[in-house]
Symmetry: C2
Subunit: 307 residues, 2 copies
Amino acid sequence: MPNTALLAIDWGTTTARVYRLDANGQVLDQRSQPLGISQVSEGRYAEALERLLGNWVHEPVPRLACGMIGSRQGWVEAPYVECPASLDTLASRLVHTPDGSLTIVPGLMTRDARGIPDVMRGEETQLLGAVAPDESQILTVLPGTHSKWALVDRGTVVDFATYMTGELYSVLLAHSILGRMAKPSAASNDAAFADVSFDRGVQHGLDMGGLTHDLFAARTLALTGELEPTEVEAWLSGLLIGREVRDALAWAKQYQSSSQIRIIGEYVLSQRYRRALEAAGLVTQPSPAQAAGQGLWLIARQAGLVG
Amino acid sequence: MPNTALLAIDWGTTTARVYRLDANGQVLDQRSQPLGISQVSEGRYAEALERLLGNWVHEPVPRLACGMIGSRQGWVEAPYVECPASLDTLASRLVHTPDGSLTIVPGLMTRDARGIPDVMRGEETQLLGAVAPDESQILTVLPGTHSKWALVDRGTVVDFATYMTGELYSVLLAHSILGRMAKPSAASNDAAFADVSFDRGVQHGLDMGGLTHDLFAARTLALTGELEPTEVEAWLSGLLIGREVRDALAWAKQYQSSSQIRIIGEYVLSQRYRRALEAAGLVTQPSPAQAAGQGLWLIARQAGLVG
């Protein structure tokens, strides 16, 4: 295995993914394992790292990780850096594990006008990987359990906001009366983004109602037969994503009024977001693949870990 | 047991409560049992009614029930009556069980400007019991798992809207990351309404943010130590109730701009709502006790079941 220059790890709550990069920052190879911090007993992180790296463990190159591994519940805490946060600042605040086997990128913190904090860990690295250092004023969304919207400007994460969309969707389906109305649909996974019920939900979400009221419509529409039990999941997904889009666009207005947005994330969920964002009148851009690997490479280079 | 004129039953999802009323509509006695429709096997309602009535089963008087017993999952379906719905209309749409042992009050349905349906069962009867037939334009709230806001005018339920506040609070605490941050507090039951964390949550809820974003603050405030783990529950309760108040006041504006509101419900939750409503600048009125019993009495009289 010649040419390895960096082992870059996106180490999250459930999964850890390692990229093997060459001296040009190209991804030569990658692997992932269910070794997220919720899967590893405290004090067993060195062992988990060895398992994750496998035969790459003998590569005499730096290892740089981002994500929940740097949280209070992780291996070693990498204190949050305040926004706006540049690539340079992030690179200067790296933290090392006591045994020197891993370097960790800190997460970011911001506060809104009311002083309410918001945090991210891992997404800052994806953002810097997905937005080139010479691009200005790029509005981005990272869909997920806790979706993040961020404004990135020339290698600096200016500000961001979190929306609990994915988690709300999961708990409502699994544990509320709305889930009791729903029947899984064959289309509910990869095709739901093209589902008319999803689009109806999006429109309802983009509308002006209050969320705890609008959620109840998943029940009443099913009760009156205006939504089939197999359509409830897609409608609810649309409602929550539509509402996120509405609320986050109001948040983004303080920074810019561009109608472009970059979606950073895995394919299926990104397609749902694309559809909802376009319904709101935005033009979406796909993100480069392996944003975390690219971001870790840029941070490593800025920190002088690689030449 | 002389003087019984009506056996009035508030028959909900988890509990059934029966009131024994005299010929003046006064409650002589009441009892409740965990015989809600989710507790009774289909086809066993007659038996459940006998258990609920106990020795009152031999009273030769009408029996009138409201609530989920009239739903599709109940004993016999009493189709929804459309709003605006008067006491007179409700009384003319009563439904009888096949064995003639019980008469059931229908629920109400309304549709908002977008055509989205909303429903209630049982609350319509509480509303008519809590607002006298000669009172005009009374704004009311019935706090609960699915809180209802309604405008009642001279014995007519003009319109209403549901907010899933209580259910959202429960599922988020039990199943989301927000619950994992929370530690039960000694104050979290009957005293939480007087808790400063509750008031902070209310203020946040009355604010302009998006709910799926604002919910995340229960995590970030705990993360930064600005909220103790024992304060998370009260803060979250405040946030959700505050948000309900904000959204429902926007809904109520279409009908009236009075600053008075009547709270119909049990003491602890009503106290929390009172505090949140007052924070929003409203003047609250307590509701008469036993609103359901009183409402059933008025409907029975209107229907000629009692003299």
